[in-house]
Symmetry: C2
Amino acid sequence: MNPPDVRTLVFDVFGTVVDWRSSVIAQGRALGADKALEVDWDAFVDDWKAAYRPGMDKVNSGEWPWMKVAQIYRRALDLLLEKYGVTGLSEAETSNFTDAWCRLDPWPDSVAGLTRLKRKYVLCTLSNGDFACLVGMAKHAGLPWDCVLTAENFRRYKPEAAVYQGAIDLLGGRPQDIMLVAAHNYDLAAAASYGMRTAFIPRPAEYGGGQTTDLGPEGDWDVVARDMEDLADRLGA
Amino acid sequence: MNPPDVRTLVFDVFGTVVDWRSSVIAQGRALGADKALEVDWDAFVDDWKAAYRPGMDKVNSGEWPWMKVAQIYRRALDLLLEKYGVTGLSEAETSNFTDAWCRLDPWPDSVAGLTRLKRKYVLCTLSNGDFACLVGMAKHAGLPWDCVLTAENFRRYKPEAAVYQGAIDLLGGRPQDIMLVAAHNYDLAAAASYGMRTAFIPRPAEYGGGQTTDLGPEGDWDVVARDMEDLADRLGA
């Protein structure tokens, strides 16, 4: 891999750049304290996250019409509130808790690494999150994106071809000029299949203590980095 | 107008934020000096720009299929090189000169005003330029966008509804939360018709010395500002 060949880095965000699990659990606990709720928030958030991929798959298969992630999470939340016996939340409180997924804190290395990388590369998201969610998260977490692209721009979710190919077309048309940075092997495999370069960063605590997936690279990725600062080192930024 | 009601500012870019005419003329003169060409670059660039709106209108009407601005400008350039008797440019030189439209310098107040506005608002482009062009221009000119949206995201050009309504949907769904900043009354009229807030900034030198259009507000816009710094003053940023 010759780093100068790449002009643009696109990033998976949930898990790769931000620590969604700790962030949403913390907001659940704060809500629980405020409303005197007895809930195991670790289990609640793990259940909530588990509804995400099946929802996106239903959109990709056509079983569901196009639906923003906020709607997928809200449908799941309404079921989980019932399952966990939570009552007494107003519509505004429920809606605000759904938005917890857009108020996520970065991993400790993310902002420093991205800030260095931005001096040399165009930095763009390529996330399954909603566009407005990613824009708000960048303000919240200080993520210095040059531009934001998400599944919502293409009305399909990763790993559908339309997301990668749509991003390649918008960003200038040459897949080899673009590198996907992700903590998930399935995402890198899809990007590579469309000609993009690939960088893997393990995030072994993404799913909490018992994580068994994506602990290491499972493909011949162009770069494997320990974290975002190490990626900046390896790409000469 | 109560400024705190607005959360996001979207900007027309060509003419409103950057001085395309002086920037492209300067690049034409540099090319002419390099290749010993005898060309009136003011006239050449005015002719070139004049091909832009008709090209976009042909896309919007369906007479032409979807086509990026780079293609519209390239078609026009090939005709103009013949009209002005320019020969001897390589494909790389011709392609590079087409990209002159993405290497544009900001008006003197733009970066300072945008930097102040960014502390309080989400700043997003809403331009007819190509996505990659806008991303590259931001790096070139130091424009601190939070996100980039252009006609290319919607495959229609302003003032088609799909551009404004598509941006409203992506940015969160409430048109009254979004204000379009533009130097062109037609653009503000379209935005207002979809419920967006509006800010006019006159750019009386956009088309050179003899400009007769858009010298003042032609509608009841929410804000009229002298320049980008004055807009920051008026919006409390």
